[in-house]
Amino acid sequence: MKDLLAVVMLLGIYSLLSASFFVTMDAVDVAFTEAAVGAGVSTLLMLVAITMTGRKEHPTRHKPLLAIVVVIITGSLLIYGTLDMPRFGLAEAPIHQHVAPRYINDSMQEIGVPNIVTSVLASYRAFDTFGEVVVIFTAGMGVLALLSMVRRSEDTENIDSNNYSMHEQHLILRIVSKMLIPFILMFAFYVQFHGDFGPGGGFQAGVIFASAIFLYTMLFGMNTARRVINQAFIQILAATGVLLYGSVGVVSLLNGKSFFDYSALASDPIAGQHLGILLIELGVGITVAAVMIIIFFNFADRRNYSPNKDSENS
């Protein structure tokens, strides 16, 4: 398929379908992440990339035969591997014997958070999650290092005239999104702070929060968004999230427990766990939202300087 737009759209549809597939498998948290990240934000970022690179793929000269052979061999090896796996849903499968019983039976006494996924993600596996946050932070820094450029100072008159023409063209979109953006932001906060009790948490909340900002930026223009959202502040926020997460671990270390053992944070171990999970989820949310906004702004900035300016109102 040569039309890249169609490829991106198919990818988004695939993400949405796999999100519903996760829901039927009762993995609501994963489905939530897939819908927000896979179908929402990554599709959007790829669309922005396409507006820079052009819609059609260049004709390639290499033969796809070798690639197909490799794919078929790998695929058949993987399918061969699944033959040895225990039957689907079998209770005696090793994965249900190892640590899962402890999570299911004891997490309510040890952590006291109804959503087991959150307690596994934020407390039992706090190290892994810290690694993920650092990866996201590093990705943001990489985009910043590669794509950021010195801003040319725009004169205000130009912005205003541009703003006016966009206002006529996108009037309905602007009004509807103006009504919706507060609810999107509110929903992001709900997902953030309700993650202990229902599906959700820092990753999803950060992405939802960032997508509200994307919507604003797309409809009101980069320059207006730049006035609202300070880039330096966003960069500081991205670092603050990671710092908040790490310092929770350091504080529990200073209080005489091991790294990321939140029971050291308060006199009551359960209250300490609650506080710790709340803080690190907040750190995750801040970092994810800030990094997403950084990536989007840098991509969109590049676009304004690219030679093909005719795709302005896409």
């Binding site: 063209q169 996108h170 309905i172 979109l173 509807v176 999104s177 009504m179 919706l180 109102n313 896409s314």
Partner: protein, 107 residues
């Protein structure tokens, strides 16, 4: 209540289906958009109303009403944005031209 809800669900599914057929059968972009844009909102609304009528949980009702409101806001706006973008990029002219070419080559 069951019967009314079933009626709503049936109407909704029929509209979904007709919208799907419309997008495949209609000749050019704007009529296809019309087929989907109109039926989609109504069909979703019908199905959601049907679901509201059979659900016994109050919380589920509230959630469905919120989804309904969101759909009523977002779906027409999305259709409008699509049509607007097509109009701004002069899709109408191109389509006409290609149709003319087709007819001239046929004749």
């Amino acid at each position: 209540m069951q019967v009314i809800s079933a009626l709503f669900l049936l109407i909704g599914s029929f509209l979904c289906l007709s919208g799907g057929i419309g997008i495949l059968r209609f000749p050019d972009f704007y009529t296809r958009m019309h087929a989907v844009g109109v039926t989609d909102t109504l069909a979703t609304a019908m199905i959601l109303i049907g679901l509201i009528l059979i659900s016994s949980d109050f919380l589920v009702d509230v959630k469905l009403v919120i989804i309904l409101l969101m759909t009523l806001f977002i779906s027409p706006t999305a259709s409008h944005a699509l049509a607007n973008a097509a109009l701004h990029n002069d899709l109408a002219k191109k389509d006409k031209k290609s149709n003319d070419e087709v007819t001239s080559s046929n004749s």
